[in-house]
Amino acid sequence: MLRTLVLSMLLLPSLPTRADVGAQPATGTVGADCVIGWEFVLRLADMSNGARAYLIHYGTDYQPDTWSPPLHQKVEFVGKVYATPNQQEDKPWPTTEVTFDSFGAKEATGTYSVTLNDGTHLEGSFHVKRRRLSKHAICA
């Protein structure tokens, strides 16, 4: 009994969350994007449970293309999360907490955590490409 309890205590903290079981990092892009306006956007595909997301971080002081997120800190994003089974947009937009572990010129890595309106919790890691707009970008 004691051995089971001790083993459980040792193992539990290292068990992955449900979303992380066998999951590959979500893919996508991050960087400046034409939205309504001109903002810093994280697009994720292949999230846990097959969800995808289009997440906006406001507050880059009009410089989403040169802004770098702080590393190893939670950054708040809001936007569209399309969750399975029907890939419907979750409304109202949930807040997604994103932590960047790296943010380089070509790619970025980190983790995301979001609770949808129905209580479903999605979390996992991502490995995305930096979104580079072509020389001239026209937003309308």
Partner: protein
């Protein structure tokens, strides 16, 4: 859509405060701190403070470009063409926006403002989606000004001058306002007017508009929406 941005940076108007990029491994000089306060209400010719929403002055290049583009779009009557009708009616999601001349009505109802002079926040301008919610929209967007999105390129970071926000549109009701950028006026075409009218009409952002119009997501910028309207025969080419 045009291929070149005719932005000329007036270096003399830039403050000489260097800024160093920190997203790359090695520090790299990327420009100067913007010297204007684009969030400060602007004066008119008499020195009176302009209202938050400023109509383009008659006879200015922006007003002329808007007028000619809108006239060309409406006079072409392409929004009523069989090709445009067939395109919109080929998909139930699109078809809801076509009957009763909704495209023409949206273009006709659109109130066009001079974005550079309109010191109005994204929140007050109604440029946020319902799903964001009014409370969060107010918290996030009350300090983000259209006039700063569309400010004189001379006052932009050098790293920013290759992008132009040509227009932004209201998606909150009454969803009739559109703000156009005088510094991007050469990109305003008939299809741009229709693109913005589609935002007003559908109250959708660019990505959702792409889905509605059957355009592949992830484009470099949003010129693909206007191009689609031209391709399917709803808007004349420039």
């Amino acid at each position: 859509m045009a291929a070149e941005v005719d932005v000329v940076v007036d270096i003399s108007r830039l403050e000489d405060v260097p800024v160093w990029g920190h997203m790359l491994a090695a520090p790299k000089f990327i420009g100067f701190i913007p010297s204007d306060d684009c969030s400060k209400p602007k004066p008119d010719a008499q020195g009176n403070q302009l209202p938050p929403k400023v109509l383009p002055l008659t006879g200015t290049p922006l007003a002329n470009r808007l007028s000619s583009s809108k006239d060309k779009l409406l006079l072409s009557n392409l929004m009523n063409s069989p090709a445009c009708s067939a395109y919109f009616n080929s998909d139930p999601a699109r078809a809801q926006y076509y009957p009763n001349s909704q495209l023409q009505v949206a273009v006709g109802r659109q109130v066009q403002y001079d974005g550079a002079d309109s010191v109005i926040s994204m929140y007050d301008a109604g440029m946020w989606e319902d799903a964001l919610g009014a409370t969060r929209a107010k918290a996030l967007l009350s300090d983000e000004y259209i006039s700063c999105h569309m400010r004189n390129p001379s006052n932009m970071m050098l790293s920013d001058i290759n992008r132009v926000i040509v227009a932004e549109s209201q998606v909150q009701l009454p969803a009739t306002d559109s703000y156009y950028n005088r510094y991007g006026k050469n990109y305003i075409d008939p299809s741009t007017i229709l693109h913005e009218a589609l935002h007003n009409l559908t109250r959708l952002d660019d990505d959702d508009l792409r889905k509605l119009l059957g355009i592949k997501l992830g484009g470099n910028d949003t010129s693909d929406i206007g191009a689609k309207m031209e391709t399917v025969g709803c808007a004349p080419k420039p």
